[in-house]
């Protein structure tokens, strides 16, 4: 089953006459920048998941909310699908365009409208970069906590659409925990304000519903985020382990001690070696696993907690525990982790990043099973893990130039996600379903649950024009996926040994 939009299982899309749509848009919105020539459309054919590409019919680059509104109204009248895109850094193909649709690029909405230190909030346009908010607030001593690793480039509108996470989620929460209000336009171009400048709003919590809804329910035109006082100090401990189980145990023991680290990251041997070769962070390359534990807050507390954590790590069997001596070493410890993806990328022509979550206690068993599966599929997997919150990022190494390797990588990825569901976890912790995990949704949810999701969609977009084919699979797709699934284990790689 092809990952690209398939009308047979994703739903019929009406044929749109490109020229007539273009003409109508130009007439109605003469100041709206529209791209319609093949060479101009090319740069927009994928987001951060570059394995999947579709050339959009048209790209719109509005600068005003009125232009977005006019475009939505016209597309709704003419039944033209609209796919929203922020900075295009998403890793699940959530902004993958449609041949029969308009790609609505919100990147030009890049103004920070107001930073209010007394209210500890920032009101920004959706195209503002995540990191730019903290930079703009820095003079006030405040910052925006969620920090996805793409924070230098990703936009806040995209963060809301994906409910983006980061390495500090356990203590500071996801995007949904750090929002006050979003302004949206419905598919019909109607304005709604969700949430409020107060801590709650009357009615259903539509702010929570829209967060992470992947551009399926409305278009975000403005975001008000909460800001927090920057912690006084942050310290990082690095612990080495001779087996993954001990590292997993150490994580549970830290929590049992009543400590909530700001960040708690684990890397396996392949990821450690890749990161060390690339960044020279000073990681112990013989270790089977390392833990990075960041503690932040008021100086006296952080000092006490560092001592407690050091003791716990040694008791749990760490072969070595190092406290970053200074800020430079702290940054270096993190640089290894934050560059783990590109570092692994140097080991292999291509890699495929997964994003499953599991209950932490299942970690040793899951890692063992991933290793077994990797062997079966003849591919290498490096593991980096947000150990504090159970979010795994197995990186599957492959070479797209070798016939069949991409397919094998995808199949292995699918197996890993199903394994996450089996142990009580989820197919996606922070990257979103998008197009990438549309089939695995059929493993996580039954048809009644999917039907309810479609009901939610219908309440806001009955014609299904916003980002069709993403996030929630049709029941037809799941029926087909289920049927295919049965012989998946036998057909594609009959030559491989199975355990």
């Amino acid at each position: 089953m092809n990952i690209l939009y398939d009308e047979r299982v994703d739903g019929y899309l009406p044929a749109v006459d490109k020229d007539s749509l273009l003409q109508a848009l130009q007439q109605r919105l003469p100041d709206l920048d529209l791209l319609h020539q093949e060479e101009d459309l090319k740069p927009y054919e994928c987001d951060g998941l570059s394995a999947y590409r579709t050339t959009p019919m048209l790209v719109a680059l509005p600068r005003t909310v009125e232009q977005v509104q006019g475009l939505l109204e016209l597309c709704h009248q003419r039944r033209v699908p609209v796919v929203a895109r922020g900075a295009g850094t998403g890793l699940s193909g959530g902004a993958l365009p449609l041949e029969k649709g308009v790609l609505l690029v919100m990147a030009r909405f890049n103004r920070i409208l107001h930073i209010d230190p007394a209210a500890r909030s920032a009101r920004v346009q959706p195209g503002v970069r995540n990191l730019a908010i903290s930079q703009a607030a820095a003079a006030t001593g405040l910052y925006y906590a969620p920090d996805p690793s793409s924070q230098i480039a990703c936009s806040i509108g995209g963060n809301v659409a994906e409910n983006a996470g980061g390495v500090h989620c356990l203590k500071y929460g996801l995007t949904v925990h750090n929002l006050l209000r979003v302004e949206i336009l419905t598919v019909e171009g109607e304005h709604l304000s969700l949430g409020s400048d107060a801590l709650d709003a009357p009615g259903f919590d539509l702010l929570a519903l829209f967060t992470g809804s992947e551009g399926m329910l409305g278009i975000i035109t403005e975001v008000t985020v909460k800001l927090l006082p920057r912690p006084q100090v942050a310290k990082v401990l690095l612990a080495a382990f001779d087996c993954v189980e001990k590292a997993g145990l150490a994580v549970a023991r830290i929590i049992a001690e009543g400590i909530i680290p700001a960040g708690l990251e684990m890397m396996d041997n392949l990821a450690i070696r890749a990161a060390e070769d690339f960044i020279h962070a000073g990681y112990p390359v013989d270790a089977q696993a390392i833990l990075l534990c960041e503690l932040d807050g008021v100086e006296a507390d952080v000092h006490d907690d560092c001592e407690r954590v050091r003791r716990v790590l040694l008791l749990a069997g760490a072969t070595e525990v190092r406290l970053a001596r200074d800020e430079a070493e702290r940054v270096r410890f993190w640089a290894g982790r934050k560059n783990a993806f590109p570092a692994v990328g140097r080991l292999s022509p291509d890699y495929y990043c997964m994003d499953g979550t599991i209950p932490r206690r299942a970690l040793p068993a899951v890692l063992k099973e991933i290793a077994t599966l990797a062997g079966e599929y003849g591919l290498r997997v490096a593991n980096v893990f947000h150990a504090g919150d159970g979010n795994m990022h197995p990186l599957i190494l492959f070479d797209a130039n070798q016939p069949g390797e991409l397919d094998r990588a995808e199949a292995l990825g699918g197996k890993i996600l199903e394994l996450c569901v089996k142990v009580g976890g989820s197919i996606t912790g922070e990257h979103g379903v998008g197009r990438e995990k549309i089939n695995q949704m059929c493993a996580q949810f039954n048809s009644d649950e999917l039907t309810l999701f479609h009901g939610v969609k219908a309440a806001f977009d009955p014609r299904g024009l916003l980002n069709p084919g993403k996030n929630i699979p049709t029941l037809q797709r799941c029926a087909e996926f289920g049927a295919m699934h049965v012989h998946m284990g036998q057909l594609p790689f009959p030559e491989l040994e199975r355990f």
């Binding site: 009615g203 919590d205 519903l209 807050g297 009580g424 219908a458 996030n471």
Partner: protein, 354 residues
């Protein structure tokens, strides 16, 4: 996790819902009725959730607990306390038998809310019996999960109008190592100014209430940060029981008198001139008002400040929750129509229109 206190009665609840669907009977969902005074009165057949109770799973090191809706909130709190953990949002009980289901359905949070987050921030997953007569699961027992729409958080605070919550998984946290409460004499305007300033600094404040004369603060964290903050801010020691009395509306302020209103306003609203006695909570973001003034007057003040007002005196007015703008109301009705097409779950509890 006493076996006799743990009963999976979901099948019986599902049958009752399916009967109600077959007979088009509206249902009035209730636990102990401790929060029945909130919202509008519902005419319907009672569906009592309390038979479906018990803790389904709890592993303190995972920081997640899964509980059936009919479980007493007190049992949940005691179980967490025994492991040195807590539900940081401090949901109020408003009665001895308050249930976990009622906590989630009303979504009410206590004094720690501005710093810790609200009930919805700790909801990770739910099981729910829907208006299509199915028992479904959304979200899960993991901290991070962005698969599908966030139905669990949508259900939180929806007063049972979108479905019957049967089970909930919650994120929990360790109790702080040190907790110390102080009280400082200062007027309201000065207190709010100070709170706005302190809010921008990494101080371990976890509750802040002004009663008209004094600012009450709770400091929570490690020994070092709490001691340092106490030294810096000064003040007299305050009985920590104050916070429970505030949360449960047991302070003298809440004694009989004019109708009680809750105003939720931006935290930088400053001292608002309200038509009656007021008590400031949430460092200024939640105001309790005793007032005979017209609902329209109170709501206009809240709205002008960027917030909204809820009437806590049952039956006083037809719309205890602030009326929704027309467009938003339409989408509420459409959502209700999709999730509960026959309108059997708590019809009219939030708004007359659904």
């Amino acid at each position: 996790m006493d076996a006799e206190h743990s009963v999976d009665d979901s099948q019986v609840l599902l049958e009752q819902v399916n009967r109600a669907l077959a007979n088009a009977t509206p249902l009035l969902i209730q636990g102990s009725n401790s929060k029945a005074f909130l919202g509008r009165a519902v005419a319907g057949e009672v569906l009592d959730t309390r038979s479906h109770r018990g803790i389904v799973s709890y592993d303190p090191t995972e920081l997640v607990i899964t509980v059936r809706a009919g479980t007493p909130l007190a049992e949940l709190s005691a179980t967490l306390a025994a492991a040195g953990q807590m539900l940081p949002c401090e949901p109020p009980s408003f009665g001895p038998g308050a249930t976990v289901g009622g906590m989630v359905a009303t979504g009410l949070s206590g004094p720690r809310r501005p710093w810790s987050g609200s009930v919805r921030d700790f909801v990770l997953g739910t099981r729910v019996i829907t208006g299509l007569g199915k028992h479904l699961r959304f979200g899960g027992e993991v901290m991070k999960n962005v698969a599908g729409y966030d139905l669990s958080r949508l259900l939180t605070g929806s007063y049972g109008c979108l479905g019957l919550i049967t089970e909930v998984s919650l994120k929990v946290l360790p109790k702080p190592r040190r907790c110390f409460s102080v009280s400082l004499e200062m007027d309201r305007a000065r207190a709010l100014e100070n709170l706005a300033r302190w809010g921008q600094q990494p101080l371990p404040v976890s509750a802040a209430c002004h009663d008209g004369q004094r600012l009450h603060l709770r400091l929570e964290g490690g020994e070092g940060s709490v001691a340092a903050a106490h030294e810096r801010l000064g003040g007299e020691a305050l009985d920590p029981g104050f916070w429970n009395d505030l949360n449960e509306q047991q302070l003298a302020f809440f004694d009989v008198g004019p109708p009680l209103w809750r105003l939720s306003v931006p935290n930088n609203s400053g001292a608002l001139d309200l038509p009656g006695a007021q008590l400031v909570d949430w460092a200024g973001a939640q105001l309790w008002l005793k007032s005979d003034a017209d609902a329209g007057v109170i709501r206009a003040i809240a709205q002008k400040a960027g917030g909204h007002a809820t009437c806590y005196s049952h039956g006083l007015i037809d719309s205890p929750f602030q009326p929704l703008p027309a467009a938003l109301l339409r989408y509420h009705r459409q959502l209700k129509a999709q999730l509960d097409p026959q309108g059997i779950f708590n019809p009219g509890r939030m708004y007359a229109e659904f």
